[in-house]
Amino acid sequence: MAPLKSLEKEYPVIDSNFQSFCARHGIFTVQDFLLHDLYVLAAFAQQHPSSSSDHLKQGITQMLSIVDEQYHKPWVNGVQLLDDFQRNKHVLSTGIHEIDSLLQGGFREGQLNEIAGPSSSGKTQVCLQVAASVATKCIGSVVYVDTGNSFSSQRIRHFVSRISGPTFNQERDLTIQKVMSGILCHSVFDIFAMFDVLHQLQSSLRSQVDRADQNVRLLVVDSLSSLITPILGGGGSQGHALMTYTGFLLKKLANEHNLAVLVTNHMVGGDGGHLKPALGESWKSIPHVRLLLSRDLQSNICNISILKHSYLASGKAGRFTLDD
């Protein structure tokens, strides 16, 4: 965080006198200031002769107003919050009717959604179908982070032609071309490469320079767990820290830029041979919506149920058929 010295130019109250007062109490940066008890600091300022103590107190007040303006998000009231929700946080149809009706419309922008399921339960197929649906119907672009080389443009093409229905070849090709150019796929194989992609996305969304990234509605990470599980385990907390950081980064992107985020989580064997999601206890409290996917043996019929939702009851379930 910013050193106090760098604030001097803009705020003349924070002069060398105030800086050396702070330095005596171990405050060199705004971060140190945040960790310090201001009542104690003000009491020390009081001990100085009256002219300089007033000056020091002015400095503290100035610092507080800088912190209030720049270092946390502004307070909003319920009316503003609801207004932002209604205006900017739309529901994106998943393209699978049963999931849409289960979730009352689909995935909500601004939310982090998770699909957990065992291997070959159809997680990637759902991701591809949602991406195709959003790119076709919502006229928005999709950022697809692929961690296992499972992205298939043939499948996207198949889904798009199914959505747009029977049309003439030329027209269909045009639609497919448009949709394909709206889906940006990044192949990443470790968590730091994913951070690169996400940070780039964040800065381009902020500056709105890169035209290709404009109007991004959906971010897919398939699969998130395969990036995170290699760094978990062992006694250390670094892996968990990176996992939580990823969660907050995704939620921040979703909230600030009104994206729906969809991540997948594979299943591993737990106690007593029961399958459990690879990202477990500490991950549970991070996503808005958690769905569990499973597939019937030897068929294309999938079961999907709600593990957690911000307002729907958990345990509700639906069935749908995957396309051949």
Partner: protein
């Protein structure tokens, strides 16, 4: 009252008889203090929580167990007016502040819950007029709900640092005070803070950013705030760690008792769930919860893990009560069973 000489004594006695305030003033004062000491109206089973200003309550449970939902109910009880245009709503009519560390409050749910509460009593016999008035009341209540989200510990600290100023500003702007401060959830940055270690070379009194330091500062800031504005603090805490040791033990027990009937196995699951909750926050947070803040006399701090079973929105939750109590609120530390089949 000191006893002075004859002349002065007469005057003092007269002053004493005259009293300090008229009954009208006293009533006003008592009512004002009363509203501060009033319990926040909460739906059962949360109505057993000593939810009033000056207390700190922690809600503990796995995800999803309805903790955030419970906070929303608390917020609605706080922002609804006691009475509005002659209709009784039974709220406190004060401001509620929500610090969202999980960053996933669903405001549409809050709005729905609030609308349901407002729609229950009719405000007017004319349909159009009724909906107009409901809309007006809805806006009034929603403006009393104040929200901020934090994506890391430093944002959280910056929010707390300026909370006092924010409370004053909002109180002046809206004409009513803040009664409730919600933190959802206090352990959100646990892993990130645990992994962050900053080392400052050469400066002894400089504080590094660590889990312990962050929590100490958080506790200090809340204490500072509560000295000036005694609010009710409700913090939720997700159980982010499964206690492997306890889990194995319960599994062993279960195998041993596999022949037993369903009621035993139900108890076992509830035991398992209780054992799985392991405290992971630094002691400073617990200490803060258990010790009195300012000049309040305390009864024995009550600390009970309560498992609560549905009303439909609560699948199950633990309920951890650690709070300061005045002597007049003579709560005993015994276990309170909220549902029938708990032993």
């Amino acid at each position: 009252m000191e006893l002075a000489g004859a002349g002065g004594g007469g005057r003092l006695a007269k002053e004493w008889i005259d009293g300090d305030e008229s009954a009208r003033e006293m009533l006003r004062r008592v009512l004002r203090e009363e509203s501060r000491h009033r319990f926040l109206p909460l739906p059962p089973p949360l109505d057993r929580v000593p939810a009033r200003a000056g207390n700190v309550v922690e809600l503990v449970g796995p995800s999803p167990s309805g903790k955030t939902h419970a906070l929303m109910e608390a917020a609605i009880g706080c922002i609804l007016p006691e009475e509005w245009q002659g209709v009784r709503f039974g709220g406190l009519g004060r401001l509620a502040m929500f610090i969202d560390l999980d960053c996933r409050l669903d405001v549409s749910l809050l709005a729905d819950l609030l609308r349901a509460r407002i729609a229950r009593p009719r405000l007017s016999c004319d349909d159009d007029d009724d909906s107009l008035r409901q809309h007006e009341l809805f806006g009034l209540c929603m403006r009393r709900f104040l929200y901020v989200s934090c994506f890391d510990s430093l944002q959280f600290l910056a929010t707390l640092k300026t909370l006092h100023y924010q409370v004053q500003k909002q109180t002046e702007a809206q004409g009513v005070g803040v009664h409730l401060l919600m933190i959802d959830s206090i352990g959100a940055f646990y892993w990130m803070d645990r992994a962050s270690t900053t080392l400052h070379v050469g400066v002894n009194n400089r504080k590094g950013l660590s889990l312990q330091q962050v929590l100490e500062t958080v506790v200090q800031e809340i204490k500072n705030l509560m000295q000036v504005h005694p609010v009710l603090v409700i913090a939720t805490k997700a159980t982010i760690m499964a206690d492997r040791h306890a889990e194995n033990e319960v599994n062993r027990n279960r195998k041993r008792k596999s022949f037993s009937d369903t009621s035993v196995s139900r108890n076992l699951t509830s035991n398992k769930e209780q054992l799985l909750h392991r405290e992971y926050m630094p002691y400073v947070w617990q200490d803060h919860m258990l010790h009195p803040l300012s000049g309040q006399r305390t009864a024995t701090p009550a600390n009970a893990h309560l498992q609560v079973k549905s009303p439909d929105w609560l699948q199950y939750m633990w309920f951890d009560r650690k709070f300061y109590t005045c002597l007049d609120f003579a709560v005993s530390a015994d276990r309170v069973a909220f549902h029938g089949d708990q032993p």
